[in-house]
């Protein structure tokens, strides 16, 4: 029987080896897959019951923090958002049953203290009764954000302010917003009720329109068309001079495309941008052809989701299927037809013009610090795209400054600063006529690189004249830029 017993031993040993191998698969090699499984809410539950980093703005306003709960509560910590709706779309919320959004989602590992830098430091603190978590410092400024909220008021729209040099966002506001405290509450019944109410709202307050919704960009898109013209070398500051006309009929159609209110316009690039001349830009798009228009639009960031550090950014769209549909191309050249852009994209376009053609990677987080205020992560600004060459960007910049000094964007002017801009009125084709009022622009001390760029959209305003953007949106943009410029002057 010894023979069989030896074999039995080998057999049982093999059984245990199989268990050991499988144990390795589950606990180590396949563990990440199990942790990422959507039905696995262990990590969020653990994070929910653990200390969590604070989120502060660039001007030191606490916008999210975890407070210890009273003895006997179900969880040890509760997340609160002292600024309420102000940062709901960017900071987001952190909820057990409804998940996490915004910075709470994209920087979850840092906030929970689970990134490499933070964990390695943790070993030193193994025997100290303290939890290491990362605090997130936003590039967003509470003062600029409040200014955006106050100026926009209860009008549906979005305000985006960006530092053109770094891609850091300074303000990112959409109205309507919501109070994240209502969703992050540990009264899960109330949280669900609040969430369902917000979901049922047709204005969709949960969605940040500023970077997750597309709109017709209207005439603000003419910056891109002008950029395409310059990039093709067929358009310069002086040449060509577009015919002064009140309408332009693209090839392949007999339906003419008209200027606002039947006005006549034409001339050089500076002239036609200053008065936002539809006929000239439509003709420019036809002259350049689809390939050049698509190439430049994509160089500005269209047709790709911007690599922002917020979840699910929307892609702005410039059609690529014109084939020989030239009337559509003519309309696209003035920001109509199927062109659509997020307010973030249009702010990035203005910022690219202000930053020698460079489209920087947009970010809302400036740095991660640990609880000793040591910076553990300070991401360097990176360039995402090159919209146009530095030389062409300079032409565009000067043209946009003219639009503020002597054109449709006069309301954007800030005394003592060099300001450029471009208005837009995207008609919605409704009766009575309603339009999205747009403005994009930049500003900075004269002779220096502009230090702030903005895009503002006020949705569905009555009227359809080209003046709408300049009248409705420009004051909001100016106020936000003034706030930023003042803080930059004070901080410098």
């Amino acid at each position: 029987m010894s023979n069989q017993i030896a074999k039995l031993g080998v057999g049982l040993l093999l059984c245990f080896l199989v268990l050991f191998v499988q144990l390795n698969r589950v606990t180590v090699f396949g563990a990440q897959e199990l942790k990422d499984n959507p039905t696995n809410n262990r990590s969020i539950l653990r994070d929910f019951d653990a200390p969590r980093g604070t989120i502060v703005t660039a001007d030191e306003v606490v916008v999210a923090r975890s407070d210890a709960t009273p003895e006997g509560a179900r969880f040890d910590f509760a997340r609160t958002y002292p600024e309420g709706d102000l940062f709901a779309h960017t900071v987001g919320y952190f909820s057990l049953n409804l998940g996490a959004t915004g910075v709470e989602d994209t920087y979850n590992a840092e906030l929970a203290g689970r990134t490499l830098d933070l964990t390695f430091r943790n070993f030193d603190d193994l025997f100290v009764d303290r939890d290491r978590v990362g605090d997130v410092r936003l590039s967003l400024r509470a003062d600029a954000q409040r200014q955006a909220r106050d100026q926009l008021g209860e009008r549906r729209g979005s305000v985006v302010a960006i530092d053109p040099r770094s891609g850091e966002l300074l303000a990112l506001w959409s109205w309507p917003s919501f109070d994240p405290n209502a969703i992050a509450t540990q009264d899960f019944g109330a949280a669900n009720a609040a969430y369902e109410l917000l979901q049922a709202d047709e204005r969709d307050p949960l969605l940040s329109k500023a970077y997750r919704e597309r709109f017709f960009p209207g005439s603000t898109f003419k910056i891109v068309t002008a950029g395409a013209g310059l990039a093709s070398e067929s358009v310069t500051a002086e040449q060509p001079s577009y015919p002064v006309a009140s309408e332009y009929t693209p090839p392949q159609t007999t339906r003419p495309l008209r200027n606002f209110g039947g006005s006549t316009c034409g001339g050089s690039l500076f002239d036609i941008l200053r008065v936002s001349c539809n006929t000239a830009f439509a003709q420019m798009a036809i002259d350049l052809g689809p390939a050049q228009m698509v190439e430049t639009a994509e160089a500005f960031g269209f047709n790709a989701a911007p690599p922002i550090d917020l979840p699910a950014p929307a892609r702005s769209v410039f059609p690529t299927d014109f084939d020989q549909n030239l009337p559509a191309l003519a309309q696209a050249g003035i920001g109509q037809n199927d062109v659509s852009a997020t307010p973030l994209q249009m702010a990035m376009a203005a910022a690219a013009v202000a930053n020698e053609g460079r489209v920087m990677t947009p970010r809302v987080v400036a740095e991660i610090v640990d609880d000793d205020n040591t910076v553990v992560d300070d991401p360097e600004p990176t360039q995402w795209r090159q919209a146009v060459s530095a030389e062409h960007a300079d032409v565009l910049r000067r043209a946009m400054v003219e639009v503020v000094e002597r054109g449709t964007a006069r309301n954007l002017a800030i005394p003592g600063f060099e300001v450029g801009g471009k208005t837009g009125t995207a008609q919605l084709g409704t009766d009575p006529p309603r339009s999205h009022a747009w403005i994009v622009g930049f500003a900075g001390p004269p002779g220096q690189a502009p230090s702030v760029a903005v895009a503002v959209i006020v949705e569905g305003q009555p009227g359809a004249s080209e003046q709408t953007g300049g009248q409705v949106a420009a004051p909001i943009a100016r106020a936000v830029m003034e706030t930023v410029l003042a803080s930059q002057a004070g901080g410098a």
């Binding site: 029987m1 010894s2 023979n3 069989q4 017993i5 030896a6 039995l8 031993g9 049982l12 040993l13 059984c15 245990f16 199989v18 268990l19 050991f20 499988q22 144990l23 390795n24 589950v26 606990t27 180590v28 396949g30 563990a31 990440q32 199990l34 942790k35 499984n37 039905t39 696995n40 262990r42 990590s43 539950l45 653990r46 009764d129």
Partner: protein
């Protein structure tokens, strides 16, 4: 020789108790950052119980193997620490830990009693048919009205007064004794092939008859009781003992074929068997229903990773039945791959020690019984850990010595005592000094 084995045993018992107390202290630190106030008392209780068992071995089986008892004590202690830790995280906490402490004491009592009453393992051989009757009786008990109880869909319990038992746990050992006795008597006959069935050469059916009846009845009863884990365990025990006794690989082939046929039949006829297999293959579609337990166990093990979360720092209470069948998932989560592997190694060492006892046993009966008991221990461990790690379809059995469960714990101590008794007898038989005693 004698003293060395016992001194080793005592030393290992102290080490095992210290590990257990250390785990208990860590659980306290993990739970509320304090070393439990009753740590010294706890260590004293663990040591007290084990030293009692050790003294009993010293008196009653002085030549017995010295590592089985410390290994069992370590597993029992670790399991107890986890039961305490899991208990305290449950809403109605504190119930199971106290019971498990009591069952541990009863188990060690049963261990001492077994050593006391079974002075020579071969004396069991004489009563093999009595054991067959007792074993079948124990299996049938839960099917009786009044005392039979169905818990979690399995009718494997009996209730007498306030206490619940699983008589099947005892039946496994009793029937292993019967098999050993019967097979030793007939093994020459069973090794002859006088009867041909297709390609198989089989012994005379009349020699095979009684054992097939016992096996068939046991399997049938267990199937009726919906206790798949025990059925599987029992089947493997039967086939392995038959093969060890005769050395005929035909029995392994035949057993494998019968198993596949039985499995196919059960799969097609019983929805609960089909469910188990489907959950094993793909638990995700039913992750919040029938597959919840196994999915949560996988998540727990994945959370544990290499080093584990630390005792009382994980969330194993999300797994249903974590204190009984699924305790290994809790160990994997909180002690990680390292701790889980240590547990595997402890069982592997026990299996090794058991087979060594089988090899050195003084009689064929002892050899066969030791192999059978070791198979019970090893295969039961394999079935439940395999089920938890999705190596096999899940069939609920306890993890020997570790899981909460009175009947299982007590009977495993009896199993341990029988192995020690066989070990002691074999050494005594070879030692002239004690042969005449």
């Amino acid at each position: 020789m004698i003293l060395l084995r016992r001194r080793t045993e005592l030393g290992l018992i102290v080490v095992g108790s210290l590990i257990t107390a250390g785990a208990y202290a860590l659980a306290g630190l993990g739970r509320d950052a304090e070393i439990p106030a009753n740590l010294v008392g706890f260590l004293g209780m663990v040591l007290g119980l084990l030293v009692a068992a050790h003294i009993a071995v010293r008196r009653l089986a002085p030549d017995a193997d010295g590592i089985l008892l410390p290994l069992a004590a370590l597993l029992n202690g670790l399991g107890y620490v986890f039961i305490v830790r899991l208990d305290e995280a449950q809403a109605d906490g504190g119930r199971l830990a106290g019971l498990q402490a009591m069952w541990t004491a009863v188990g060690i009592g049963a261990f001492i009693a077994t050593l006391l009453f079974v002075r020579r393992s071969r004396s069991l051989e004489r009563y093999r048919f009595t054991f067959a009757a007792i074993g079948l009786g124990l299996l049938l008990l839960p099917l009786l009205p009044v005392i039979g109880r169905t818990i979690n869909g399995s009718r494997i319990w009996i209730s007498i007064g306030p206490a619940n038992f699983q008589p099947g746990e005892a039946a496994k050992i009793v029937l292993a004794i019967f098999f050993a006795g019967y097979l030793v008597e007939r093994r020459e006959l069973l090794a002859l092939s006088t009867f041909r069935l297709g390609p198989l050469h089989l012994p005379d059916p009349k020699h095979l008859g009684p054992i097939l009846v016992a096996w068939g009845v046991s399997l049938g009863v267990m199937t009726l009781q919906r206790d798949l884990g025990s059925s599987l365990l029992f089947f493997v025990l039967f086939v392995v003992m038959l093969w060890v006794a005769t050395g005929r690989t035909t029995y392994l082939t035949l057993g494998g074929t019968l198993f596949l046929a039985g499995a196919a039949f059960a799969y097609s006829q019983f929805s609960h068997v089909r469910d188990r297999v489907e959950i094993w293959l793909d638990p995700w579609p039913v992750a919040d229903g029938a597959g919840y337990q196994i999915v949560e166990a996988s998540f727990a093990l994945a959370d544990g990773g290499i080093a584990g979360t630390g005792i009382a720092l994980g969330t194993p209470t999300r797994i249903p039945e974590v204190e009984t069948d699924f305790i290994f998932a809790a160990i994997g989560e909180e002690l990680g791959l390292i701790g889980a592997t240590a547990v595997l190694c402890a069982f592997l060492l026990m299996v090794g020690a058991g087979l060594r006892i089988a090899l050195r046993a003084e009689s064929a009966f002892d050899t066969l019984l030791a192999s059978g008991l070791t198979t019970l221990l090893g295969v039961q461990t394999f079935i439940i850990i395999g089920g938890i790690t999705r190596t096999l379809p899940l069939t609920g059995v306890t993890l020997p010595f570790v899981s909460y469960g009175g009947s299982s714990l007590v009977m495993n101590y009896v199993l341990l005592a029988l192995l020690l008794r066989i070990s002691d007898n074999s050494v005594a038989a070879r030692s002239p000094a004690r042969a005449g005693a």
